[in-house]
């Protein structure tokens, strides 16, 4: 046995020796993947665009890549589709280290703040000056979402406020009249709608949904500054109360992944959600009629804005060309094509058409004015994980904490 011990420790020693020697001599071998651009053809600059999404998205982007030379003859645009967002984030660190990362990507504001603050993206203000890209094309509300510490990071592509959905049939069958505008009215309605297998309201214990509740009470996370503000506590108390009364359900307890599945299976009458409900319900339950209204008021009008934008990576080789290409992606043709797929363009002149094409969202148009960014802390994913964990601990695990305790505990971790 002693022999084995010796072998075992010999290996550890060997490993350590190798570690020391190798870490001394290298490790910072910067991987310059010698330029594959092979720019023989008249100084064309190759710009790589990375995205994850659907086959329809790819088609739109491919078309943009084919026509970009009309506006920017010096740019060759290459589209790289990643199988999924998870895959993108798995691959990106290696790509950056190896110098083969895309020059710009499209990203949603739900996670962007973290990456901006951690130094993944380049501010574009200077590039806007030198390239002459017209940022006035986009409304201030959109630009503001992509502005961090006074610096602009994204070229906005689309904006859409969060919404509140009601199952029209259930609402009518219950003999309820006007659609609600406040949470109090929602709770009253939920009491009527709550029967049998159907729950009055779906409150997905997920950061997106919780954030909408706190915003409607005039609260918000304040990028980590105001996690346990009185407004947030009040919103959370209301949610907990709805659970205590048996009016609310989280998709997980019913065995579903997200709120839309519960809604489409008609096991919940109302839910917070977003524009993606439309496309999803079309496949999942084409017979269901939904009503979309702005997120009800707690004490004020407030909801989140889902926005996405093109962002230039910090390590890109040719940032100017990348910004030009990103800007080109927001041209009318591309935006119109995306509008067909259900995205509201972040271009004021086109947005009007959007509500004509998607009349079911007409009620949301005013919410465009007051909806704002999520306001997550820099460690966004850690924060949302922690929030979900605490809420699941209470609702699914019976931790017995109060709203105040939960938010205090989280705040303590994000000083």
């Amino acid at each position: 046995m002693g022999k084995m011990n010796k072998k075992f420790s010999a290996m550890l020693v060997l490993c350590l020796a190798l570690v020391v020697s190798l870490s001394a001599c290298g490790g910072s071998k910067s991987a310059d993947n010698t330029d594959k651009a092979s720019g023989d053809k008249a100084e064309k600059v190759t710009v790589n665009f990375g995205f994850w999404g659907t086959a329809q998205d790819l088609e739109i982007y491919q078309k943009a890549a084919d026509t970009i030379s009309e506006q920017y003859p010096e740019i060759e645009l290459k589209i790289k589709q990643y199988p999924s967002s998870e895959q993108f984030w798995n691959t990106l660190p290696g790509e950056i280290a190896a110098g083969v990362a895309p020059d710009f990507i499209k990203m949603s504001n739900e996670g962007a703040y973290e990456y901006i603050n951690k130094g993944l993206f380049s501010p574009i203000d200077d590039l806007v000056q030198t390239t002459g890209v017209d940022m006035n094309r986009f409304p201030d509300t959109s630009k503001k979402i992509w502005n961090v510490d006074g610096k602009q990071y994204g070229v906005p592509n689309s904006d859409m406020p969060a919404m509140f959905f009601i199952n029209e049939q259930m609402w009518k069958d219950a003999g309820l009249g006007e659609y609600p505008t406040t949470w109090d009215e929602v709770i009253e309605a939920a009491k009527v709608l709550n029967k049998g297998d159907v729950k009055g309201i779906i409150v997905n214990l997920d950061a997106f949904h919780i954030t909408n509740y706190v915003k409607s009470f005039g609260g918000g996370w304040g990028n980590g500054e105001t996690i346990n503000s009185p407004e947030n506590v009040k919103a959370l108390e209301m949610i907990i109360d709805m659970y205590d009364q048996g009016l609310a359900v989280t998709p997980k307890s019913l065995g579903f992944g997200w709120d839309g599945e519960v809604f489409s299976n008609e096991q919940g009458a109302m839910s917070t959600g977003g524009y993606w409900y439309k496309g999803y319900l079309k496949d999942a339950n084409p017979d269901l009629k939904m009503v979309a209204i702005p997120v009800p008021k707690g004490t004020t009008n407030g909801s989140t804005m889902s926005s996405d934008a093109y962002m230039v990576l910090k390590d890109g080789k040719n940032k100017e060309a990348a910004l030009k290409a990103a800007y080109y992606m927001t041209n009318d043709d591309t935006q119109t094509a995306f509008m067909e797929l259900g995205f509201n363009p972040a271009v004021s002149s086109l947005s009007e058409q959007y509500f004509e094409k998607n009349p079911e969202f007409k009620a949301l148009q005013p919410a465009l004015e007051y909806s704002t960014d999520y306001g997550y802390p820099t460690d966004t994913k850690r924060f949302t994980d922690e929030l979900v964990k605490e809420l699941e601990g209470l609702i699914l695990g019976g931790s017995g904490k109060t709203a105040q305790q939960i938010l205090d505990d989280i705040q303590a971790q994000f000083k």
Binding site: L14, N90, T91, D283
Partner: protein
């Protein structure tokens, strides 16, 4: 006496069938989910509603090049299995039957290699592959995986049970130890090599993390990655995903079904007449 035996067999069959159904159930349900429209997910619906639309999309949409992905997978899996069939048994044999300095060290290297989640070394491996210019090539997909610590370890455990008389008999016949390995042990270890091939085949065929990282252009997708890139608008279209799972799993099932027949007694048939 006879009836008692018959009863026992009947019981054996019934028991096996029940167990079999239990094990088959999830896959059968996967198949079921793959042939229903999305609105019927989570419910049982009559065959009248069944449809092959979920499969058809893979073969009609231009964005999905399933035959190409299939070919990529076959090439990748084939190369990896062949590499594993050469490199692992040699190392396993050395660790089981040869006495040399450093053997204990190599043994622990093999064991330690299995313990690190691949995710941890993925970034440096990626850089390694990129530096060699092997991104989106079969080199990158196969060369790093031509050996597997797991299978070396497994074969070592199998080879330990090979009676030493075999090797001695082989040397009497004038074979070197190397010759004894290739000519005697290798063919005799058939059933363990088949097991290894099946496991390596399944593992490589099903792998997602590595191929999706090292080869992420649509022409170089392998089947599992390609079928997973099929996403509906915003959320997963469960039937379509399940159709993808069925498509990518069937070849392994077929492979296994064909190869499990090879489990005929190896060493015991040859006998130790020496």
């Amino acid at each position: 006496m006879l009836t008692r035996k018959n009863n026992r067999r009947l019981l054996l069959y019934i028991g096996t069938i029940i167990l079999g159904l239990l094990f088959a159930l999830p896959f059968l349900y996967t198949i079921y989910t793959s042939v229903i429209p999305m609105r019927h997910v989570n419910t049982l619906t009559s065959p009248a509603n069944w449809t092959f639309e979920n499969f058809k999309i893979f073969f009609t949409n231009d964005a999905y090049n399933v035959p190409r992905w299939f070919l990529n997978t076959v090439i990748m899996t084939g190369a990896v299995v062949i590499g594993n069939l050469i490199i692992n048994p040699m190392a396993g044999f050395a660790l089981a039957k040869l006495n040399f300095k450093g053997k204990g060290l190599i043994y622990w290297i093999v064991v330690a290699t299995m313990m690190v989640p691949y995710h941890m070394i993925l970034i440096p491996v990626y850089v390694n592959v990129a530096q060699l210019g092997w991104l989106n090539t079969f080199w990158g997909l196969t060369v790093p995986f031509l050996y597997q610590g797991l299978y070396i370890f497994m074969l070592r455990q199998f080879f330990i049970s090979v009676p030493n008389e075999f090797l001695e008999a082989a040397r009497m016949d004038g074979l070197t130890k190397m010759g004894a390995f290739w000519r005697i042990v290798y063919p005799l270890a058939r059933s363990s090599l088949i097991t290894m091939s099946i496991l390596a085949f399944a593992g490589t065929w099903n792998s997602y993390l590595v191929p999706s990282t090292l080869a992420n252009t649509p022409e170089m997708y392998v089947l599992v990655v390609g079928l997973n890139s099929v996403k509906d608008m915003f959320f997963e279209n469960t039937p379509m995903i399940m159709a993808g799972v069925v498509l990518s799993t069937l070849p392994i099932i077929l492979f296994f079904f064909l190869f499990q027949r090879q489990y005929i007694e190896g060493i015991s048939n040859a006998g130790v007449k020496g």
